[in-house]
Symmetry: C3
Subunit: 391 residues, 3 copies
Amino acid sequence: MSNDTRTPPGAASTPDALLRASGSRREFLRNSALTALAAGALGACKTRDDAPANNTQGKPSADGGASAANAAKGAKPGVHADSDLSGGSTAPHPDTVAVSTRANADAMDAMHEKGVKAFPAKTEGKGNQLMQPRVEKGVKVYEITAREIQWEVEPGKRVKAWAYNDQVPGPQIRVREGDRVRLVLKNELPESTSVHFHGVEVPNDQDGVPFITQPPVKPGESYTYEFTAPNPGSHMYHSHHNAAKQVGMGLLGAFVIEPRRQRAIERADVDYVMIINDGFHGYTINGKGFPATEPIVAKLGQKVRIRFMNEGMMIHPMHLHGMHMTVIDKDGWPQPAPWRCDTLNVAPGERWDVIVNCNNPGTWAFHCHILPHAESEHGMFGMVTALVVQK
Amino acid sequence: MSNDTRTPPGAASTPDALLRASGSRREFLRNSALTALAAGALGACKTRDDAPANNTQGKPSADGGASAANAAKGAKPGVHADSDLSGGSTAPHPDTVAVSTRANADAMDAMHEKGVKAFPAKTEGKGNQLMQPRVEKGVKVYEITAREIQWEVEPGKRVKAWAYNDQVPGPQIRVREGDRVRLVLKNELPESTSVHFHGVEVPNDQDGVPFITQPPVKPGESYTYEFTAPNPGSHMYHSHHNAAKQVGMGLLGAFVIEPRRQRAIERADVDYVMIINDGFHGYTINGKGFPATEPIVAKLGQKVRIRFMNEGMMIHPMHLHGMHMTVIDKDGWPQPAPWRCDTLNVAPGERWDVIVNCNNPGTWAFHCHILPHAESEHGMFGMVTALVVQK
Amino acid sequence: MSNDTRTPPGAASTPDALLRASGSRREFLRNSALTALAAGALGACKTRDDAPANNTQGKPSADGGASAANAAKGAKPGVHADSDLSGGSTAPHPDTVAVSTRANADAMDAMHEKGVKAFPAKTEGKGNQLMQPRVEKGVKVYEITAREIQWEVEPGKRVKAWAYNDQVPGPQIRVREGDRVRLVLKNELPESTSVHFHGVEVPNDQDGVPFITQPPVKPGESYTYEFTAPNPGSHMYHSHHNAAKQVGMGLLGAFVIEPRRQRAIERADVDYVMIINDGFHGYTINGKGFPATEPIVAKLGQKVRIRFMNEGMMIHPMHLHGMHMTVIDKDGWPQPAPWRCDTLNVAPGERWDVIVNCNNPGTWAFHCHILPHAESEHGMFGMVTALVVQK
């Protein structure tokens, strides 16, 4: 047993090579994500049974003392020069590591590995898809139907959801500052509902709060909102009726208003909306739990803009590995000066825009740092994704 | 049934007209709030049974397709030009909206409507009232008695509270930087207590922490604090003995120190202290749960300063509809530069001062965006109020 | 009974005198903390039975009316000039304060007092100790063994912990920007593990995420990390395998990278790492719950830098009494401009650096302002410590 378990697990550079070969981001995501990532990018560490012993990175040893000694000889990180460590002669002392302990560890690790290797896992349905409006006499018209669906949150886990156009989150709406926008809501839910444009400074009668600014939209009815897109930035739309339930069930989406003039600091090669949630569907990023979440992919040197939006009931301090985030906007409004962090606390209803300068190649974990939202004894789950920086 | 349910619900402009007619803010709140708001401002959407069909705003239809078609003709928001929708001929198809579904929706909506229409609901007792000190030889003297009372949190819901001068929150204390201040605490509680001036940089022996800076004040005893008001800003006073219980039970209040020189940015027409809490009395704003919370009222063009103070155990990201907030102070200290947001995360013990430039007329929901703190299937409750901007 | 209970409880200046006499900070903490603080600094309020009646500070009275009257005569804070209040003649009226109420209050207060007087309480084991590396050919080598230990969180409360080098938090690692650093992890746990350098922008293969950047380090095995210390600031190291459990059990520590050039604003006389946690060991500061937490000690006029790090699952808004904190860094990155507060919300995974200008002498409570994390009916516990500013 000790033999195969100390086989080096594969090169960390492999995923990048795979990704590099995969073409444009869109192409990558469409054609090769499942293959490349599942087989390589995030499953970089090959299984112990099939990996050749020819890679010197990240090689574990059974003997910390030997490692230290090797390190003293100028060994590289993760390298244990004592090559016979690959043999059976330095097996851990039975008193130190009992067979059952090792078997238990292996069993747990196998579950963890399985999750990572499955990422990004295929599930039915994709939320937060950019929606193309119908343009009528210069007005951008979005038709949104709210109805109950089954939603596959993670592979094999189907939940009841209330969705806009059968997506959780609902379709991503992107308009331009000054655009005339019309949203026609059709209610096919068993409850009344409404749409509130969270953060958008609409006229009062378009604010979507039943009994304050409009009547509830009854089951079977429709309702039309219309306004000129005012303050630019990362906003949201969601139900404002029985909202603790309805938003928790999925009636939410991104509403981005692009500014007439973009500031230099907000220019990015990749513009990614990340809606985090903790409603009835568990801990999710854009409607899916790991490993069904979607990786963000960029090339080395590119800039990624992430628009965090929290539609849940809890804070989620989102932590990016390997690179920092430069915070530029809060709720769509520019911060007085950009500031940097690697863990950004996003509270319910908040939106934060950050820029990541992708200067560190590799596949980087990106997750909520409330660890029980991201990992259990069965492996990573929930609010976990990755930022893949391709060389 | 279908007939009356599609009756237009009344003009959104009605409440402003009512409010406009109501005179000064104080007069409004004293004389007309219950009448005007209950009947109009926030009950703007008239009941379906009594509303005439002559208003074209916010009119629901039973047919989203027709709506879209109308919209295509250039119809205004919320308008469904197909006037026979008001008749019975386009009743929802029975397969789509069953009678029982509609009845259930109506029943739920009626509960929601009732809550909104009751706002601002009358309850016994009002906390956070500005306290006039007795001035003795240039010293502002505040006499504060802590004792157990019954407190009506929302209509008909009476809870046991521990209160300063029979108010939850306790009386609002406002002094000026440099003022000599004396607070005489009388303890009529069944437990010892103390007062800590949270955020106020008092001399150590006035800090109110039993066994560190003073003895506990026993039941039946009194204790006198005295200091010269130091750092200006939005501060608090509360018990610092058995505080998880005592503050949770209501022993807390605002302690505002006005600066000797006001910065231009902090000048406001309305200066509103908003103490949010989640203790034994449920989710409250200034000691009351919706619909017994108090609306903030301003005229179009005015500036409102809101001093958020969290005396609870949870974060509360406070979301204002329709307008943004400009954050100027944190814990009474100026931020290096003001910044804007519409959802401000307020953590326990924090104070945040914001300015709202009231440039968008109407009645705007203002609530914690942890939705279960603000709405249930029975309607809005807890941490909900409104900012009313009168034309 | 009434007699001794109104005996003045001792001067608040006493602790400072004691501390002043105690020499340097290190000497103080090593030699006299337990004696001086337990007997004086935080047990400043002598027990009622043994305190002489010669101190006029903080004297409670049984009669608020008399106090107010005295105050009107220009009495000083806490002083009740009516000296016969020290006698038995003004005992509380039996109807006001029943004997049983007073006895209950005394019993509760005794528990509270006992906790404060025990501070800083001696426990076995001290976490977060600065670790001296072995230097090999210019590389700073840290050998870290993860294993299960018993950890005394507070006096008499021993818990099972998973610890680095038998410390919770693990040894504090401090290197300099540009240093070559090697960390040799030896895993003596019954589970696989790994080390992630949270906030440190290491090369991808040193990032410590099993199955993404390395294999898990199995029980009995070792693993070597090596990199050149990149971005300076307050960072952390912790397990990134089964981390919700492993970090919760104690596998975490501070990883500070000192900058090549220190900014003027970050210079401090005392540099204190404060790791807050809420895992399986309860609410802790640097691995201990009050009264076993460690006070921070500075002299009047000194600057204290506090590096807050949250390794838990909840936010902790840390509140300092008596002085404000100037926030300079977030996650090791300078804020665009320093800003001030007295309550700093620290979310899981976040690090915040603040400077306290110690200009207000005394012993100041310093605690999480989610009060149930700091106090129960049995007294202060958990996330409570003190900043002692010595005259």
